[in-house]
């Protein structure tokens, strides 16, 4: 242990602790901008500087480790003065469009400026005029707002290991670029949107389709249907004044109806459907009926799929051919639902609400037109839906709980846990067990695949067959399992991969922040809902039985293959 004093208070912390972390022990939060918990410290904004007795200059507290006998002053006049000026410098050439900025009320730079009492910006800085990067269907980057904190680069490199953005140039020309400035849409970007979460300002945002959805809702000739992913119900409340960990499934359905959607379904229905297809596929691969390699990888995370197509195309055959729940729902809304109701599918506008920026990309993939139309027309993120609810003046907190339309809205506990890392695996095992043994899996909670460990593994006894499974969330974690598989050394039968840390509850479209604790809580909310639901196995869902009886036939059948399964494309490396 290292003993030091901070603002005169004695404190002992383990060696290697940063001054910033040590200060927390004496109830001091040191302001910072480029530092973010969960990422390597970078030490470039200098906002976290402190005074250390005996040092000639101020010391960045995020990156400097404590040493024995150190005397630290975190808020001396010299420190406060320097901090103010640093923020003043950042504000001097920052575009002044805070009113209309995506980050209005959620901007870390503005918050800092307020908290450290920047009273005046005395510099008249020349405003930058960089071109926006609008090449991606999911994400827009505005280098003019960028404060060059490097967080996006660190998350993309160190956490996601995608490494498509980096700093270029020096001095005033310094900026975050993609390779050859080709733009995010033309490089290996997975559209995971983790960079959005870590950006302290409005320099990275999703490509919004709020206006397009409003237009469709207001068009009397259109019939607008909506589906919401499992993870929305665990996070939407946070955007609307409720604490983290509030389940808002009923209010969410109620709000969507009031926004004017003609029918409110639920992606959870499609998640149950995914399990039927994917569970059967797994059993087929294990029994040898399907001549495809093991382990089988899940396919419901479009960020992971694009990552695979770029970085691991040799594993393409291992990936389940099942579309993601969003993309299973899409074609059904324009075929099954249209047929049932006699609505011209041409008039159906299929909207989804997703925790995910990659889903915007996925909806636009050329092959996602099996209904004869674009299967999913618009993808809203959790944040976009929250803004629509606010814009419509809906008092979310007082809304009653309302159910989704059962035809494509009824769901089981297995579907709802899709939103948390390990959930797809757990759901699939519940059904696969039944498929293999003809009996129901008694103990439904498969705890080893839950929680926030980067890679989780379990072995499930299926009538004497040891089914080995693994789960990874975050693409950096996924690489471990992928490399093992590539080397032919994977002991697993089934592997779940989610592009985002925490799974979909931490998707790029969720409430801002890179807070793993919050993501864990959202996941727990979904496990709680699962526990409370009477039906917890996908094959028990009456609406699923109905869709097979009335329309699809059987899992992996001809119609399923046409509407619910897909192919992948090897993508070039730039």
């Amino acid at each position: 242990m290292v003993a030091l004093t901070i603002n005169g208070e004695h404190v002992k912390v383990p060696g290697g602790t940063s001054i910033m972390d040590a200060a927390k022990e004496v109830h001091i939060n040191i302001p910072h901008l480029c530092y973010l918990e969960g990422l390597e410290p970078y030490g470039a904004c200098r906002v976290c500087v402190v005074e250390v007795e005996g040092e000639r200059r101020l010391i960045p507290s995020c990156i400097r480790e404590v040493s024995e006998g150190m005397k630290v002053h975190t808020h001396s006049a010299r420190v406060r003065h320097a901090r103010r000026m640093l923020i003043e410098l950042l504000l001097a050439n920052h575009p002044e469009d805070c009113f209309t900025c995506e980050r209005n009320q959620k901007c870390e730079l503005l918050k800092l400026a307020y908290e450290i009492c920047v009273g005046d910006v005395r510099f008249e800085g020349e405003k930058p005029s960089f071109e926006l990067d609008e090449t991606s269907p999911s994400i827009i980057r505005d280098p003019n707002k960028c404060v060059l904190c490097g967080r996006c680069i660190r998350v993309c490199h160190d956490v996601q290991t995608v490494r498509v953005i980096g700093f270029a140039n020096r001095g005033p020309e310094t900026k975050v670029v993609t390779l050859l400035e080709n733009g995010l849409g033309n490089v290996e970007c997975t559209n995971c949107g983790q960079c959005i979460h870590v950006c302290p300002v409005g320099a990275i945002k999703e490509r919004s389709c709020v206006d397009e959805v409003w237009t469709a809702l207001e068009d009397p000739k259109k019939h607008v249907v909506v589906q919401e992913a499992p993870a929305i119900r665990a996070a939407l409340g946070e955007e609307l004044g409720l604490p983290v960990g509030t389940l808002v499934a009923g209010k969410m359905h109620a709000a969507l109806k009031r926004l004017g959607f003609d029918v409110v379904f639920d992606t959870n229905f499609a998640a149950d459907l995914t399990i039927m297809e994917e569970g059967n596929e797994l059993v087929g691969r294990i029994t040898g009926k399907i001549k495809k390699p093991l382990p089988q990888f899940t396919s419901c995370s479009p960020g992971w799929i694009k990552f695979m197509e770029h970085f691991y195309p040799e594993l393409m055959e291992n990936v389940s051919t099942c579309k993601s729940p969003q993309q299973m729902f899409g074609p059904l809304s324009k075929t099954y639902y249209a047929e049932k109701t006699g609505i011209d599918p041409e008039k159906v506008v299929s909207v989804s609400v997703m925790p995910c920026t990659a889903k915007k990309f996925e909806a636009q993939r050329a092959e996602m037109t099996d209904s004869g139309y674009q299967d999913v027309d618009y993808v809203l993120t959790t944040r976009e839906l929250a803004r629509m609810i606010k814009e419509a003046g809906i008092d979310f907190l007082t809304l009653p709980d309302e159910p989704a339309e059962p035809l494509m809205g009824m769901y089981t506990g297995a579907a709802t846990i899709f939103g948390a890392t390990g959930g797809v695996m757990e759901a699939a095992l519940r059904t696969a067990y039944k498929l293999v043994t003809g009996r129901e899996l008694e103990s439904l909670d498969i705890k080893p695949v839950r929680g926030m460990d980067g890679v989780k593994t379990a072995t499930v006894d299926v009538d004497g067959l040891e089914v080995k499974v693994a789960v990874a969330h975050g693409l950096g974690n996924a690489r471990k399992l992928l490399n093992e598989t590539k080397a032919g050394k994977s002991p697993y039968h089934f592997i779940e991969i989610m592009a985002c840390p925490g799974g979909c509850v931490g998707g790029g479209g969720q409430p801002y922040g890179f807070d793993m604790a919050a993501r864990a809580i959202r996941g727990e909310v979904l496990y709680k809902e699962d526990k409370e639901l009477t039906l917890r196995r996908s094959h028990e869902n009456p609406s699923i039985k109905k869709v097979y009886d009335d329309f699809l036939g059987k899992p992996l059948g001809k119609k399923s293959h046409k509407l619910l399964h897909t192919k992948y494309t090897k993508r070039e490396m730039t």
């Binding site: 030490g43 470039a44 904004c45 200098r46 906002v47 500087v49 200059r57 101020l58 960045p60 990156i63 400097r64 010299r78 003065h81 320097a82 000026m85 640093l86 410098l89 950042l90 001097a92 050439n93 005395r122 510099f123 008249e124 800085g125 020349e126 404060v147 060059l148 700093f167 140039n169 020096r170 001095g171 005033p172 020309e173 310094t174």
Partner: protein, 409 residues
């Protein structure tokens, strides 16, 4: 005047190894290899040689720190980036006497326990790169580089690496980043190069001129060296005299000669009337006293720094505002762009100074510049940002009326 490093430069074909050996070259290496590495370091410590690259850190101590580190392998890196405006001294050495640097690099490697040395050289120094490569090849052929040098147990490889052309890459930690193939951006310290340098390994990094003193120290003893020039920082120093002098150029002179002596006796006097000088180039503060002794301590006592010895002379017909403006312009361009105080501070200062230069200054901006300078010194990550405002601050403090004269009325 006594010259140590340029002692033999007038010998024709000194770049060739035989000529270098005939004039006493590689004797120091032979001697050093018969000493223990610790003895070599002690000798250098006794000489009280300090770094000539800017920071004036005691060379012997730097070597000792690196030697003491447990981690392996260790590296010796020579900083030959020489990107500071008005500095061209290392070039003179490498061009005229490349073997001197090669010999010093082998001795240094032996002293710190490194089996590999790298010379990071400014990209535009084409001729010098060629000469160094040739010298290394010759030295290898003669057994001064390679396995078991001169029958000792010491093996050493030496390589020249061409820099990518940014001034900040001369900053030691940015230099390592650049050597490793990254962007030339300074690292946070600690850890210092002695613990975490090139490839994250213990590294001693020295300037060309610093290293070139070592053979003479080994040959003649540290004691001998310590009696040359100014006692506080002994030896000779290369002064790159430029600006308003009649005979600009590189002069190797004992430390401690006065600015006046340098200008009058070597530089042929001031062109026009003397106003001020930047004794350590654009990163240093102005001095107006020509009696200041040119050694590290005395110049620091006078409120400036000797740096790498780029002495810029400014005459009385030059506007100090313009001097400050051109200094800061350089830093705007050369900031690595990493930390806020330097990236943003330099360009804001440049905008303000631009207004003064155009006669549109604001009174309140004078204090703002001083304040900015303090914060940049206090918070910038590396020497570039810390020193970028030195010229401006000293200009305001010494010639405030010139700034007032440029205030918009």
């Amino acid at each position: 005047m006594e010259r140590i490093l340029l002692k033999d430069v007038d010998i024709p074909n000194l770049c060739e190894i035989d000529v270098y050996i005939d004039s006493g070259g590689y004797k120091a290496l032979e001697k050093a290899l018969k000493m223990t590495p610790k003895e070599v370091i002690e000798e250098v410590k006794r000489s009280r040689l300090v770094g000539r690259g800017g920071a004036a850190f005691p060379t012997g101590l730097k070597w000792e720190f690196t030697r003491k580190e447990k981690d392996e392998p260790k590296f010796l890196v020579c900083n030959a980036d020489e990107g500071e405006p008005g500095t061209f001294k290392d070039r003179v050495l490498m061009k005229n006497n490349p073997h001197l640097l090669v010999e010093a690099m082998v001795i240094g490697g032996y002293a710190i326990g490194a089996n590999k040395g790298v010379i990071y050289i400014r990209g535009e120094y084409f001729e010098e790169i060629g000469r160094l490569n040739k010298a290394i090849k010759e030295a290898r052929e003669k057994g001064y580089i390679g396995e078991g040098i001169l029958g000792s147990g010491f093996s050493y490889e030496l390589q020249v690496y061409r820099g990518a052309g940014a001034y900040v890459c001369g900053e030691e930690s940015a230099l390592f980043e650049s050597l490793e193939g990254g962007r030339g951006c300074a690292r946070e310290r600690p850890p210092f190069p002695a613990q975490y340098g090139f490839m994250g390994k213990p590294t001693a990094i020295n300037n060309v001129e610093t290293l070139c003193n070592v053979p003479a120290i080994i040959n003649n003893g540290g004691e001998w060296y310590s009696r040359i020039g100014s006692p506080a920082s002994p030896g000779t120093k290369f002064f790159c005299l430029s600006g308003h002098v009649n005979k600009p150029g590189v002069y190797e002179l004992p430390t401690g000669i006065t600015l006046r002596e340098l200008i009058e006796e070597y530089g042929g006097g001031v062109k026009g009337e003397f106003k001020a000088s930047l004794p350590g180039g654009v990163s240093s503060s102005l001095v107006t006293d020509t009696d200041v002794k040119l050694d590290y301590k005395s110049v620091a006592d006078a409120g400036s720094m000797l740096g790498s010895g780029a002495v810029i002379v400014i005459n009385s017909s030059t506007s100090i505002v313009d001097v400050a403006k051109s200094c800061i312009e350089f830093f705007v361009r050369e900031s690595c762009g990493q930390c806020v105080p330097c990236r943003e501070g330099t360009r804001r200062a440049n905008e303000i100074l631009g207004r003064f230069a155009g006669g549109k200054g604001k009174v309140e901006d004078i204090d703002l510049l001083l304040e900015l300078g303090e914060v940049m010194y206090d918070t910038a990550r590396c020497g570039l940002g810390q020193a970028a405002m030195n010229a401006t601050i000293s200009a305001i403090k010494m010639f405030k009326d010139e700034f007032m004269g440029r205030v918009e009325s």
